[in-house]
């Protein structure tokens, strides 16, 4: 019992979990939670959660991606155009997801197989994606079927659909994390040359993390389209940076190999809740950005100090196995 409790406390997601609970209490005390608030909260933060899951997987594999926000904008525009042009709805979803995975594959190829620094490579693809988004849909617009929007903003047994999809994506990330591939991702994140010598195909593993992120972003983009009821080529610019910040607060080490997607999602929910809290506290509108930034900075410092003692168990296992060889 004590052992399993320690396991939870030492999990990299624990500090952000505590921080999140604290903010939920503060927020609840200030404005109270209605069910419409909860649904609205998850529908509007859905895209950020999705991008954060993708970013977390990439960072754990030792990479970074600044293009995911632009990718969300691109898929948002493509999906809107497909629906506008009278495509079958299911087909439009499938094609959009395939295109988002292809975008991820582009990043994965340049970073994984051509070994370009991920920061710069994805900066390049950021331009590529936002340029394409502007070409596909030069001005914000489009309409979404009412049924689709109602479905996305609906609930099943009181739980918002958006939250259910986030949980499903988290489960998917968890399954990958627990699979042999997940072990390889962490190994590559911890030390790529050593993993290579141990027979891990580093290129392919890196490639996979980017394709996975592409898929998750595609899901996020479709949710975003439902939320906005149309497309906007400039919609996702802030998403990738917010996602990276969410990952860091959520205990995903930027050096790679440490953390999990759950903590990262907690981080992004904290991010969203922070904005609500600052608004609910009736801060003058011009100061909201600065207060949000300062809380974020303090949160990051607190998380960094708290996380010093924690190591992900998988990383520890890998290290121990390496030491025994």
């Amino acid at each position: 019992m004590r052992n399993s409790l320690m396991k939870i406390v030492r999990n990299t997601a624990f500090p952000i979990f505590v921080l999140l609970i604290a903010f939920i209490i503060i927020n609840g005390a200030m404005s109270g939670f209605t069910s419409s608030f909860v649904v609205g909260f998850f529908t509007s933060n859905f895209a950020l959660c999705c991008v954060t899951i993708g970013t977390a997987v990439i960072i754990m594999g030792g990479g970074i991606d600044v293009s995911l926000g632009a990718m969300v904008a691109l898929i948002n525009c493509i999906f809107t155009q497909l629906v506008e042009h009278g495509w079958n709805f299911g087909l439009a979803v499938v094609v959009s997801l395939l295109i988002s995975m292809a975008c991820g594959a582009l990043n994965g190829t340049v970073v994984g197989f051509f070994r370009v620094s991920p920061m710069l490579a994805t900066f390049g693809s950021l331009s590529i994606f936002s340029g394409l988004a502007l070409t596909v849909l030069p001005l914000p617009g489009g309409t979404m079927p009412v049924g689709f929007r109602n479905f996305y903003m609906g609930t099943i047994a009181g739980i918002p659909i958006a939250l259910l999809i986030i949980i499903a994506l988290l489960l998917l990330a968890f399954l990958v994390h627990r699979s042999p591939l997940g072990t390889k991702i962490i190994a590559v994140g911890l030390d790529a040359p050593k993993s290579f010598i141990s027979g891990v195909r580093v290129n392919s593993v890196t490639f996979f993390t980017y394709v996975f992120a592409g898929f998750v972003c595609g899901v996020g983009a479709i949710g975003l389209t439902a939320n906005m009821g149309g497309g906007d080529p400039n919609v996702g610019t802030a998403l990738s940076m917010s996602a990276i910040a969410s990952c860091v607060i959520g205990g995903v080490a930027l050096s790679g190999g440490k953390g999990n997607a759950l903590g990262a999602v907690f981080g992004s929910l904290f991010f969203g809740l922070l904005i609500n809290t600052v608004i609910a506290a009736r801060t003058p509108s011009f100061q909201q950005g600065m207060i949000r930034g300062i809380i974020l900075l303090v949160g990051m410092i607190v998380a960094a100090v708290l996380l010093r003692g924690t190591t992900s168990t998988r990383a520890k296992q890998l290290r121990n196995e390496g030491a025994n060889d």
């Binding site: 710069l120 340029g131 502007l134 960094a304």
Partner: protein, 332 residues
């Protein structure tokens, strides 16, 4: 420890200068791209390579080059240092210049002093966070960007302004011939910084720290203060670049520095520096800046729509990186 020894051997030692052509080899890709782009621009729209247009391009590149100095320092000092707050700091100083000067030339020195001070403070917090609290540079500078953006909004209420002293607006005017003042300012500052980096005790320790942090620590270099100073100077230089930018453009708005953040990183890398630190020059960063600005100008000259232009810009950048800065193969 084996890996450390390897990295000593594989890093080019910046203190010992390579001789002859070897020394200038890292500038070659950037120089070739510049020539190609000028020829391409002249073909696409005659008059592109005219003295006036070239001076225009160099003036814009000089602003990017000034931010690239910030970014260079942080990248040279190593451990994958990067500063994503430079764009926000530039916007901050651009917004605060009209606020402090109200169009009065006499208030100019004080205003520049204030924005450079605030930029330095932001850089100092970045450096302290990286070195003392051990937060990755990428993360803390990213959050610092939101703090600085928020500060600017809170301080200026986000209103665009044109209340700048006329003296400041002359940075975009020719001083003699087609040579504009901002180009001269950039050249002078780059030369000063390059001399400091190459010959001073501080500059040498920056490169040594970037080459091998552990070895630098063991030989007794002051790691903490060197890194914090690098970040602080980076913040100050970004603020100064913002001053030149607002003078060149003639009016300020909240988001005008944003695009410079990642462009400055790209400029430094195209100029031959490694993101892992320990190598690179400011001349390289300046060439990289010219490449990026020239690329945009050529695409504008080609008369393409914004979407296609952004797309091609990204595509060409990826191509340049494919040629220029690939990590060595894992198979030895």
């Amino acid at each position: 420890m084996i890996t450390n020894n390897e990295s000593i051997l594989s890093n080019t030692n910046p203190v010992k200068k390579a001789s002859g052509i070897e020394r200038y080899k890292s500038y070659l890709p950037a120089a070739i791209i510049i020539v190609v782009l000028f020829v391409l621009g002249q073909i696409l729209s005659p008059g592109f390579a005219s003295a006036r247009n070239v001076s225009n391009i160099f003036a814009q590149a000089s602003i990017l080059a000034l931010v690239a100095i910030s970014q260079s320092l942080v990248i040279f000092v190593g451990e994958f240092g990067i500063d994503l707050s430079v764009g926000a700091i530039m916007s901050m100083s651009a917004m605060l210049m009209p606020f402090y000067t109200q169009g009065q030339a006499s208030a100019l020195p004080m205003a520049i002093f204030m924005v450079v001070l605030i930029g330095g403070l932001a850089g100092f917090i970045n450096g302290t966070g990286v070195q003392i609290i051990k937060i990755p540079a990428l993360a803390i500078t990213l959050v610092m960007a939101t703090v600085v953006d928020g500060f600017t909004l809170a301080f200026t209420k986000g209103l665009p302004s044109k209340a700048l002293p006329e003296v400041l607006k002359t940075v975009g005017q020719p001083l003699f011939g087609q040579v504009r003042t901002c180009i001269i300012i950039a050249v002078v500052i780059i030369v000063i910084f390059q001399l400091v980096l190459s010959y001073s005790r501080y500059g040498k320790s920056v490169f040594l720290l970037g080459s091998n942090r552990n070895a630098a620590k063991l030989t007794g270099l002051r790691v903490n203060s060197t890194v914090i100073i690098a970040f602080t100077i980076a913040g100050m230089m970004a603020a100064f670049a913002g001053v030149i930018m607002v003078g060149y453009v003639g009016s300020s708005n909240l988001r005008m520095g944003d695009s410079y953040t990642l462009m400055s990183v790209a400029a430094v890398v195209i100029g031959g520096a490694k993101l892992s630190g320990g190598s690179g020059t400011l001349l390289g960063a300046a060439l990289g800046s010219i490449v990026l600005i020239l690329l945009t100008s050529v695409l504008i000259a080609a008369g393409l729509s914004t979407g296609i232009r952004t797309f091609l810009q990204g595509l060409i950048l990826v191509m340049i990186l494919l040629f220029n800065s690939r990590a060595p193969k894992l198979r030895v």
